[in-house]
């Protein structure tokens, strides 16, 4: 067994640890729930936790693997959430098997978000660095605001769209308004649960980790490391950039579907699909380690649980969260502190002691 482990490529082992970590946490949580050790509050947090983990992994594909800063990730989540919930609501009477309908809703959400990722990526990915950040932020806000003003109705003649109000849809008597502007979609089926969430996390991991270790993934990483060099050896930069960006968007769409099916209704507010959300996901990615998939999972879980753990401190919890965030960034990245850590590292200290003995 040990020999076999040693023979496996290092990345395999690394990926196995990541999958194993998710599965073990899942089993542990299930065990705790069956013994009644998990509070209701924490149980309610399990699906959002999966949503954030998927978002963090998918954004890490853009930020860490492709090396482009995106501040509009919540926009793709928004598209996924609404298209998935729309599908579920329209198909509620046609497809009665919940599992099939929900699976299709997830695919629809991923498809829509992916297509939007592709369409937005085409013009946007020509920018670099901070310009890309601001343009993606702009697109994210556009998506949120348009969805917030969108009215979609369905009647015997088909779908009707309007950006004004439900009256201007001009529905027949048998019509039904499904997306009600700022109210969003009311009455989405609550199909999401922790098991579905974990399965989606594992699928996301599978897609992203396989992409990273494939020929395409290496091409994407070469663009990140040196654009000009990779262009000069014949890598189609536009194609690979778009590929990573659309996959990342589609996965954010999956997270959106999971999110919208965890609630009775879904509306586009600044809190759930605004730039604050995009920034929060970016915080997970950066704190977990840019390009480190396992790190973003851990960071997403820790940073979502942290404010809840600090709930006893009431008003001070978000303040402490902010201080912890700043302190962690300084501790992990400041050149001076890194140099100090190098000198006073515990590993080195132990090693020296051993040598003396």
């Amino acid at each position: 067994m040990k020999d076999k482990l040693k023979k496996m490529p290092k990345t395999w082992l690394d990926n196995l640890i990541t999958y194993g970590m998710v599965i073990i946490v899942f089993l542990l949580v299930q065990m705790f729930i069956s013994r009644g050790l998990v509070s209701n509050l924490l149980q309610g947090l399990l699906v959002p936790l999966c949503v954030y983990v998927i978002l963090a992994i998918s954004l890490n594909l853009t930020v860490g693997i492709l090396g482009e800063l995106s501040l509009g990730h919540a926009g793709f989540m928004c598209i996924g959430a609404f298209s998935g919930a729309f599908f579920s609501k329209v198909m509620a009477d046609i497809i009665t098997v919940t599992a099939v309908r929900f699976t299709l809703a997830i695919l629809v959400g991923a498809l829509f978000a992916g297509v939007f990722g592709f369409l937005i990526g085409m013009p946007v990915l020509r920018f670099r660095g901070d310009y890309l950040a601001i343009v993606t932020l702009a697109f994210g806000e556009i998506i949120k605001n348009v969805v917030n003003a969108l009215f979609v109705g369905v009647d015997s003649r088909g779908f009707h769209f309007s950006l004004k109000d439900s009256m201007s849809l001009g529905l027949e008597a048998d019509g039904d308004v499904i997306i009600k502007g700022a109210l969003g979609i009311i009455g989405t089926p609550r199909n999401s649960n922790f098991t579905v969430g974990i399965v989606l996390v594992l699928i996301t991991l599978f897609i992203v980790l396989n992409l990273i270790n494939s020929r395409d993934g290496r091409a994407i990483m070469s663009i990140r490391d040196n654009l000009i060099a990779s262009e000069s050896i014949g890598i189609n930069v536009t194609k690979y950039k778009l590929m990573a960006f659309s996959i990342s968007a589609a996965l954010a769409g999956v997270a959106g579907v999971l999110y919208s099916h965890n609630l009775n209704s879904v509306a586009a507010t600044p809190k759930n699909f605004g730039y604050n959300m995009s920034i929060m996901i970016l915080v997970f990615v950066v704190l977990g380690g840019i390009g480190n998939i396992r790190g973003s999972i851990i960071a997403a879980v820790v940073l979502t649980l942290l404010p809840e753990m600090l709930r006893g401190l009431n008003n001070y919890r978000m303040l402490i969260y902010a201080v912890v965030l700043i302190a962690m960034m300084l501790f992990n990245w400041s050149p001076q502190i890194l140099a100090w850590r190098e000198q006073h590292s515990i590993k080195d200290f132990l090693r020296k002691r051993r040598k003396v003995q």
Partner: protein, 295 residues
């Protein structure tokens, strides 16, 4: 026609506020090469200080404004010293961005603790009445006039400061090439601190003007104007001071006209769309310089 002129004037006034905020963004970006996401929250701190001074302590308005500017300058310098300076030379520019977001959360939550989440109504500091033109058909409020004039004064002073004084020239040099500037004997850290001080002082003024025109104040007041001003800075070409003015005013006019003629819900969408289109046509912004990439 008359209403169009009124909207234009209001747009220029809002745009002037954006321009003043955008100056802070653009100067900090030009010199430290970082997006200071906490800048919007410094605006909020400035407005809250004036609110505290006038409405809660009954100070003289002038004293309150001076206090607010002084506090924001101190705050800017402190933030730079504690949170940003240690990260200078860090491996990734994202790191500073996230730290700035942390600072932004910190300021918002401090304000939340002190003043609570309720929206406060801010008493306007401008006490000269509206000016009526064309037999009262166009009414320009005192806030609008004060905002536009303040913006112009700040622009002129800042341009003179950068063109004519030694610290201003040092700023230009540092934004051009940090290493070379240091070799020429310029105190790079001091110059960056000065930039943060000026930016934060301007943020305080912008906050007071913004809250005089739109008198509601909450711990989250600063974040959206902050984002808009950032867009204005990018719009005009980030790092360029006249660019910030042009970008800010264009943004304000587009926003007000969009809100008036198309839809108030879609005003932000229009602003963002225009930004994207401008950047697609001219990727470095209106007055931005194109940097040649070296292989």
């Amino acid at each position: 026609m008359i209403s169009l002129i009124t909207y234009l004037i209001n747009g220029i006034s809002l745009g002037s506020v954006y321009a003043i905020i955008a100056l802070g963004y653009t100067m900090v970006y030009g010199i430290a090469k970082m997006l200071n996401f906490a800048h919007g929250d410094v605006i909020m701190v400035g407005s809250f200080t004036v609110f505290w001074g006038i409405s809660m302590q009954g100070f003289n308005p002038v004293l309150s404004v001076l206090l607010s500017i002084a506090l924001c300058i101190t705050l800017g310098i402190t933030i730079e010293f504690i949170a940003y300076r240690p990260l200078r030379g860090a491996a990734s520019s994202l790191v500073v961005l996230i730290t700035a977001i942390g600072v932004s959360y910190f300021l918002q939550n401090i304000a939340l603790l002190i003043f609570g989440a309720n929206t406060k109504s801010f008493t306007s500091l401008i006490n000269f009445g509206p000016v009526r033109l064309f037999e009262g058909q166009i009414i320009i409020s005192g806030e609008t006039i004060a905002t536009i004039i303040t913006c112009l004064i700040i622009m002129v002073c800042l341009t003179l400061f950068i063109k004519k004084t030694k610290p201003g020239q040092a700023m230009l040099a540092v934004s051009e090439d940090k290493g070379a500037a240091q070799l020429m004997g310029i105190n790079v850290n001091g110059t960056i601190t000065l930039t943060f001080a000026i930016g934060s002082g301007l943020a305080a003024i912008a906050g007071i003007l913004l809250c005089s025109a739109y008198p509601s104040l909450s711990p989250y007041t600063g974040s959206m104007p902050g984002i808009k001003a950032f867009i204005a800075a990018v719009f005009g070409g980030i790092g360029s001071i006249p660019g910030a003015l042009i970008g800010g005013i264009l943004l304000g006019v587009i926003e007000i006209l969009g809100r008036a003629y198309i839809s108030s819900q879609m005003a932000d969408v229009i602003v963002f769309m225009v930004l994207i289109i401008v950047l697609l046509v001219k990727p470095t912004g209106i007055l931005g310089r194109k940097l040649q990439e070296k292989v």
